[in-house]
């Protein structure tokens, strides 16, 4: 508890480090071992990375563990951080690997998919469905905002993992296509096609539910 309090207090003392970029902080930490630089980075990404892991793992406790493991890896692997590279995608790559490990350990893989045809992920990506070409109609009904938000959150959780991770990285975490491709180790074109595919599936799921409701009403 004492340690926690000390850390919380010191967090407010980092204001002088704020103008430093993430890259400067990690390179500085690597050079000097100055713990304050590291703590500044952890504080900077506390909210963002925790929420990323919570979305990825769908479990706040596992996200907390993965968050700690991620920064442990950052500390252990900072020697391998290449100068000129951007820190944020590097951090997300480590965090994603930690989340995958956590998932594997807990054996809590998600089994339900919005794709009802039973095809595997590879097929899913292969058939690039462009929203404009597919002619999927615009979302049908005007539903209460809170209901829509809950519905869409569940719908995203039920997307196949490959599509879900792209939606989380690009839409919720605000990564650029290039950064998401870097994190996942896939071509930019695949990120684009997966995102298109995900948006089509989400719209289809929405229309399936609410367009039917409208007809029945």
């Amino acid at each position: 508890m004492t340690a926690t309090l000390e850390m919380t207090q010191s967090a407010s003392e980092f204001t002088y480090l704020e103008p430093m970029s993430d890259e400067d902080l990690i390179l500085g930490y690597r050079e000097t071992g100055d713990r304050e630089l590291f703590e500044c980075l952890v504080n900077r990404y506390e909210r963002e990375l925790f929420n990323y892991l919570r979305r990825y793992l769908n479990d706040a406790e596992m996200a907390e563990d993965a968050f700690q493991a991620t920064f442990l890896q950052v500390h252990l692997k900072c020697e391998s951080f290449e100068e000129g590279r951007r820190f944020r995608p590097w951090l997300y790559t480590i965090a994603t690997n930690q989340a995958i490990d956590a998932q594997r350990r807990s054996k809590r893989h998600r089994m339900i998919s919005l794709d009802r045809s039973g095809r595997d992920d590879a097929d899913e990506i292969g058939g690039l469905v462009d929203l404009l070409v597919s002619g999927e109609p615009a979302p049908a009904a005007q539903i209460d905002d809170a209901e829509r938000q809950t519905y869409m959150q569940e719908a995203v959780k039920q997307l196949p993992e490959s599509l879900q991770e792209v939606v989380i990285l690009v839409y919720y975490q605000g990564l650029k296509y290039r950064e998401a491709a870097d994190v996942l180790g896939i071509p930019v074109g695949t990120v684009k096609s997966r995102l298109h595919s995900a948006v089509v599936k989400l719209t289809e799921a929405w229309n399936r539910t609410y367009a039917n409701d409208e007809k029945n009403a």
């Binding site: 850390m7 909210r47 907390e64 920064f71 404009l132 979302p139």
Partner: protein
């Protein structure tokens, strides 16, 4: 460019790409309409999975965690420690069985019954393994082509980066190289592709025969009677995107990173009745190299219509596409304009 509309709305594009979309949207009302339509899809997700505050002191605990990583690692594996402590003497020993004692007995008599059992086992093994062997050879050749297409993809990107239009090789509408199979010539002659072998599927060649691609000069200067022999190898070259027709000319396909735009594929001939005949990996499907560098094996029975679109243009002809979104993959001697 259309591929980037969703990225633009999600702010996922690089600055220059986003600027291109804005310029295009200003000029083209259709793009504006598409953007508006996409926006209605994306809006569904608004505020759907909002950020929450992290648990109090999470950052502090993560930093404190650095001080004791070793202890955590040890505590993680209590099961292994228990296994290591189990004395070797206490490990369960298998009880002896009849089969085991027969194998270890001194008797070497081999009876008729043993022979029959052994022969039966051999027949069963043959029935099981020969089809598997055939299919594994098929799989190996498929993977070999997948690798070849990756190499060709890198060479094509290399080629496109060298010209201002960022275009792949164009197929001439006349002259000695006025056929699809000639696309490999500049790749090899300009050093983008290490070996011409990557342009051809080994499954279509005689065993151990090396693939040789004649040079453009050889084709151009060959005497009429030599031409068929020289050109024979082009029949073994993968199918290639014939480009786009524009005012009676043909424009080379451009490199734009499109995930749904095919550039090269396994050899597929179009029969008299418009039937597709893939060569090399049975009739199950084809490897296709897309504009974004991805190679995918597409099964013909799953999406026959999609695959068909890649080998005919929107007018149903085997020649260059009628617009930029109409890719056509021509084999060997297919011409970019069939009327020439």
């Amino acid at each position: 460019m259309r591929d980037n509309l969703l990225g633009y709305l999600l702010n996922a594009l690089e600055e220059d790409e986003a600027r291109d979309v804005e310029v295009l949207a200003e000029r083209d009302p259709e793009i504006q309409h598409d953007l508006q339509r996409l926006r209605s899809h994306v809006r569904l997700l608004d505020d759907s999975w909002v950020d929450v505050s992290p648990p109090a002191g999470l950052a502090a605990r993560a930093c404190a965690f650095l001080d004791a990583p070793a202890e955590v690692a040890v505590a993680d594996d209590p099961a292994e420690a228990v296994v290591a402590e189990t004395p070797i003497d206490e490990k369960p020993v298998p009880r002896s069985s009849r089969a085991f004692s027969a194998m270890t007995s001194d008797s070497s008599r081999f009876t008729m019954a043993d022979m029959l059992v052994a022969a039966g086992a051999c027949v069963a093994a043959a029935v099981i393994f020969f089809p598997a062997l055939a299919s594994s050879r098929m799989l190996a050749s498929r993977l070999q082509c997948e690798n070849n297409l990756h190499q060709v993809g890198m060479a094509l990107h290399d080629f496109a980066y060298q010209n201002k239009q960022q275009a792949y090789p164009a197929i001439d509408t006349d002259g000695p190289a006025d056929f699809a199979g000639s696309f490999g010539l500049p790749l090899v002659e300009q050093g983008h592709l290490k070996s011409p072998e990557f342009l051809s599927c080994a499954a279509n060649r005689n065993e151990n025969s090396k693939f040789r691609l004649p040079t453009l000069k050889e084709v151009a200067q060959a005497a009429p009677e030599q031409i068929p022999g020289l050109r024979a190898n082009f029949n073994l070259v993968y199918n290639y995107n014939l480009g786009t027709q524009h005012n009676g000319r043909v424009i080379a396909p451009k490199m734009q990173g499109r995930a749904d735009y095919p550039v090269v594929s396994d050899i597929v001939h179009v029969g008299d009745k418009g039937k597709l005949a893939p060569k090399g990996h049975g009739v199950t499907g084809v490897n296709i190299l897309f504009d974004d560098g991805r190679v995918e094996f597409i099964r013909l029975d799953e999406i026959p219509e999609l695959v068909r679109q890649y080998y005919f243009n929107d007018l149903g002809k085997v020649e260059a596409g009628v617009n930029e979104n109409d890719p056509v993959l021509g084999s060997g001697f297919t011409k970019a304009l069939s009327s020439r």
